[in-house]
Symmetry: C2
């Protein structure tokens, strides 16, 4: 006895996206491990901090902005702090909160790994798409992301 | 001092895909938790088994076919076995190998949860796309997935 699994054009598109996502992130992770001493999760923490105002964020907001890594943010930050790439400290104004900030060494490491990661995205993703396909993916999947947006939290310690 | 993060049309498309992936899977996971006693990881194990020849797979092949869940396959299978939804046993012919198989109860649970999951994919993903966009995503991201394919392993116990 076998189960009929219902599929249609939408589940096919969904599956193509899942497969592309899984396989490309797998390769991007491998690229980073091969050429730097970071993996994709550690890299993403540095990226999210680098893209933030003053290169600092509250822990919960950092976790919310992570879209790439499969690991828990706290564990990633523990390791980066041990290696001197980020600092973590209690908010002055709200002692339950923690903020994470990029160190000079973390900034340097991010710039170095960023080159590898950027060229990986071109090679493994962009080079397989036409300009038109790229534009469609950006607008169509951007619309899907907007339709499923998660409410924002506070990015910084309260002042 | 602020870091200039290099972006272009490709990184924009990549980011749109990552955000859509993260947010839709987050909602699909919530749908399953709300309406069944499965989460997305448990559901995916049942789905992969249901889609396999004879509804059974070796553990390593099961792990390779998981494209949706962020949890370790072994932990997911442990829990499903405890609930009677899958069985696990040592390969007769190769005692180092383990195979996982769907139980009758697992099949029933999969069919029930499959309805929720199918309609979630339509609501949260498909309904935001035109037919043309859906077709572009399927062919373009299918090509990206093929270009980054991972070599296949043995699906079943050796005979």
């Amino acid at each position: 006895m076998s189960i009929r699994i219902k599929t249609n054009e939408t589940t096919e598109a969904w599956r193509a996206m899942l497969l592309a996502h899984r396989r490309v992130t797998h390769e991007l992770d491998r690229d980073l491990r091969t050429h730097t001493d970071l993996n994709l999760g550690w890299y993403e923490v540095l990226l999210v901090l680098a893209a933030s105002e003053n290169e600092r964020l509250r822990m919960n907001e950092l976790a919310d902005r992570m879209i790439l890594s499969r690991s828990a943010t706290t564990r990633l930050v523990d390791r980066l702090e041990r290696d001197g790439l980020v600092d973590r400290f209690v908010c002055d104004s709200d002692r339950r909160g923690m903020e994470v900030t990029l160190t000079d060494q973390g900034r340097e490491k991010f710039v170095e790994a960023g080159r590898i990661h950027f060229s990986g995205i071109q090679d493994r993703f962009g080079n397989h798409l036409t300009d038109e396909e790229r534009a469609t993916i950006t607008s169509a999947l951007g619309r899907v992301a907007d339709a499923n947006a998660i409410p924002e939290t506070d990015a910084h310690c309260p002042t």
